[in-house]
């Protein structure tokens, strides 16, 4: 564990499966989605939110997923974040096939591999910043002393050490989002998944947060931002446009 202000990911301890056992999965990729469908039953009709989406994300990528509302980007984000499983297709995350995992396994993946950042921060109102950041570690079974150290250094990495005993209602919007980012990264996940991270912030604070993301990316984190705003998407190195459940465009911009 480094004790300077950077928050780096440890090298993945991925499962090395023989090529013969995996189907269409590129082991060099951190994320590999193949022919992903998500279907909802609305009465007698089936509604497809995603129509067979496939793409890969290598380790260390800074990618934005952009699309209007109803495009399926939220559905895609929920699948990437393992909050949901696809109706069809395969999703490989850090060498594991998560598309067929059960509820408990998905919870573990969310705890270990995914760091969520939400538009409305989603912090626990009755807990301090430090306790909020510790929460993933509690569910991850980390010992109390280690938890404290890890949470403190996560808050240090987002420049919030002086505020660690404050409750969310004592913090500004930007500070709350930074607490959320610290919480997302405290367990050293494979990906940082942000859903409209600046949606509830003013333009100045938005820039600060996007600068933070940029710094985290340069420190080696894989960052996925889901947004409908073009100037937020433009900060990423690769932009994937989605419309009507299909990928429209996938271009590297940096």
């Amino acid at each position: 564990m480094s004790d300077d202000a950077t928050l780096t990911l440890t090298p993945p301890e991925s499962v090395t499966t023989p090529r013969a056992e995996v189907s269409g999965h590129d082991p060099k990729m951190l994320i590999s989605m193949r022919n992903i469908w998500k279907t909802y039953q609305m009465g007698t009709e089936s509604v497809h939110a995603l129509h067979g989406v496939s793409f890969d994300i290598p380790r260390g990528e800074y990618i934005a997923i952009i699309g209007p509302s109803g495009s399926g980007k939220s559905t895609l984000m929920n699948l990437i974040g393992c909050l949901d499983t696809p109706s069809q297709g395969e999703y490989w995350l850090n060498g594991k096939n998560v598309s067929e995992m059960d509820d408990d396994e998905l919870a573990r993946i969310r705890n270990q591999e995914v760091g969520f950042v939400f538009q409305t921060f989603n912090l626990l109102a009755r807990a301090t910043a430090l306790h909020n950041v510790e929460l993933p570690l509690i569910y991850g079974g980390v010992s109390a002393s280690q938890r404290h150290e890890m949470a403190k250094s996560a808050l240090h990495a987002v420049d919030l050490t002086e505020r660690m005993t404050h409750k969310p209602n004592e913090l500004s919007g930007g500070q709350r989002q930074r607490v959320a980012i610290a919480r997302a990264l405290v367990n050293r996940p494979s990906i940082l998944l942000a859903d409209e991270p600046t949606g509830a912030l003013d333009s100045h604070t938005s820039m600060e947060i996007m600068d933070l993301f940029g710094r985290l990316h340069s420190e080696g984190n894989t960052i996925i931002v889901v947004t409908h705003e073009h100037d937020i998407a433009a900060r990423a190195h690769r932009v994937v446009s989605i419309r009507d459940g299909l990928i429209e465009k996938d271009e590297r911009i940096k």
């Binding site: 909050l83 919870a107 573990r108 969310r110 969520f116 939400f118 626990l124 509690i138 569910y139 367990n187």
Partner: protein, 415 residues
């Protein structure tokens, strides 16, 4: 597996949530407190009653049985007529038993009358005047002399007007004087003066009925006053409980012989009873009441459980978003289940502890009112808290299960 840290987190969240919503917590507690208090109070009172009754009836011991014309408890008018037709139990029956029964240790007779007793201008009413013979009847009755003495056998056979008084006489006839002041005095029973030879030790009262409101006189004197016509009760005491059955068999044989009872006769011609008859009557008379009262108390505990379940359901609904957040960062279903179960159990256990205290308080109040001793056991206190915790787990189970099953995506959309 259940992680200790997650359980501690659950407990921390539970107490935080309870403290944040004090009014709601108080309302939840009321349900449990009332339920537990009711059950504890009822059980404690029943335990006290049972023990008091058992103690009372065992002071004469399960080593005594009686031969009488009527049973002590007559259950119907037909029975009453049947029993009245029997021959009286007499002094001669008692002598035959004393002579022939080898397993019997002490044999005595007693007959009771209710009289008003006077001394000077003082009056004691509803006094039990008990004619006894021989003086071992005092031992069979389990009474001891405090001050003074009992009459001798020859004094007892003489028919003299002598007596031994119970301590209530001191209060009612001698203006609470110490016992030695009463010895040597005269009291009047049915107009006739009786010399007080001794005063008994107090036995106390049971359910408001005083056992010290008694005057013992020799049976020969009793016969002179009331005639030989009344049936007497023969008391037989054995030395140990093992002797009881053989003694009963012997006495039964002796009595059947004396009554010339045919082997297939419907009516034996006498009643042979042990002290158990009261205990059994008490038991059967109270068992239905006990079941009903404990049942009603248990229902109120059930209601308390429903209150907890209701409050927990509201709590889960209010915290849907929080549940979504926890699931998103890695809480499994059982972590959420545990969290809400612990919250329910915590509230219920606190309610249980308060309820136990309240229940004991209630039992204390009622026992002081009716007049029997209180029997508080640590066991019931523990059982009370355990019971409320179980109620907590059961009532919290469904809300916690619902919380655990929430879809994280839906939950995050809440509020």
């Amino acid at each position: 597996m259940f992680r200790l840290a997650a359980i501690w987190e659950a407990f921390r969240v539970a107490t935080g949530s309870l403290r944040a919503n004090k009014l709601r917590t108080a309302l939840t507690l009321v349900g449990i407190v009332v339920g537990v208090a009711a059950v504890i109070a009822v059980v404690t009172i029943i335990q006290g009653l049972d023990q008091t009754v058992a103690q009372t009836f065992s002071s004469q011991g399960s080593t005594v049985f009686t031969i009488s014309k009527n049973p002590q408890i007559i259950k119907s008018r037909e029975d009453f007529i049947k029993f009245n037709r029997r021959k009286d139990v007499t002094h001669e029956d008692a002598e035959a038993i004393a002579r022939l029964c080898t397993a019997c240790w002490r044999v005595g007779i007693a007959a009771n009358a209710i009289e008003t007793v006077k001394h000077g201008d003082q009056k004691a009413e509803n006094v039990r005047v008990r004619g006894v013979d021989p003086i071992t009847m005092f031992d069979i009755d389990g009474v001891n002399v405090n001050v003074g003495r009992i009459w001798t056998e020859s004094e007892g056979a003489s028919g003299r007007e002598i007596c031994v008084i119970g301590p209530d006489m001191l209060k009612n006839l001698f203006a609470d004087a110490p016992p030695d002041k009463a010895v040597g005095q005269d009291i009047r029973i049915d107009g006739r003066p009786y010399l007080v030879l001794g005063v008994l030790e107090p036995l106390g009262s049971i359910f408001g009925f005083s056992r010290d409101n008694v005057v013992y006189i020799p049976y020969s004197t009793y016969q002179k006053a009331y005639g030989v016509r009344r049936s007497i009760v023969t008391f037989i005491q054995v030395q140990s409980t093992q002797q009881l059955e053989p003694a009963e068999d012997q006495v039964r044989t002796i009595m059947r012989n004396r009554r010339h009872t045919a082997p297939d006769a419907e009516d034996e011609g006498f009643a042979l009873e042990t002290q158990d008859v009261f205990l059994n009557l008490y038991g059967s008379a109270t068992s239905n009441i006990k079941i009903v009262t404990v049942g009603v108390a248990a229902i109120s505990l059930l209601v308390g459980g429903i209150v907890v379940m209701n409050i927990m359901l509201v709590s889960v609904t209010e915290r849907t978003k929080e549940i979504g957040i926890r699931k998103a960062i890695g809480a499994r279903r059982k972590d959420i289940l545990t969290q809400f179960l612990i919250e329910a159990v915590t509230v219920a256990a606190i309610g249980g502890a308060i309820g136990v205290g309240t229940g004991f308080g209630l039992a204390y109040g009622i026992s002081a009112l009716i007049g029997f001793p209180l029997l508080i056991s640590i066991w019931s206190a523990g059982a009370g808290v355990a019971m409320s915790s179980v109620v907590g787990i059961l009532s919290g189970l469904w809300p916690a299960w619902r919380a655990a099953r929430l879809d994280p995506i839906e939950a995050l959309r809440a509020e």
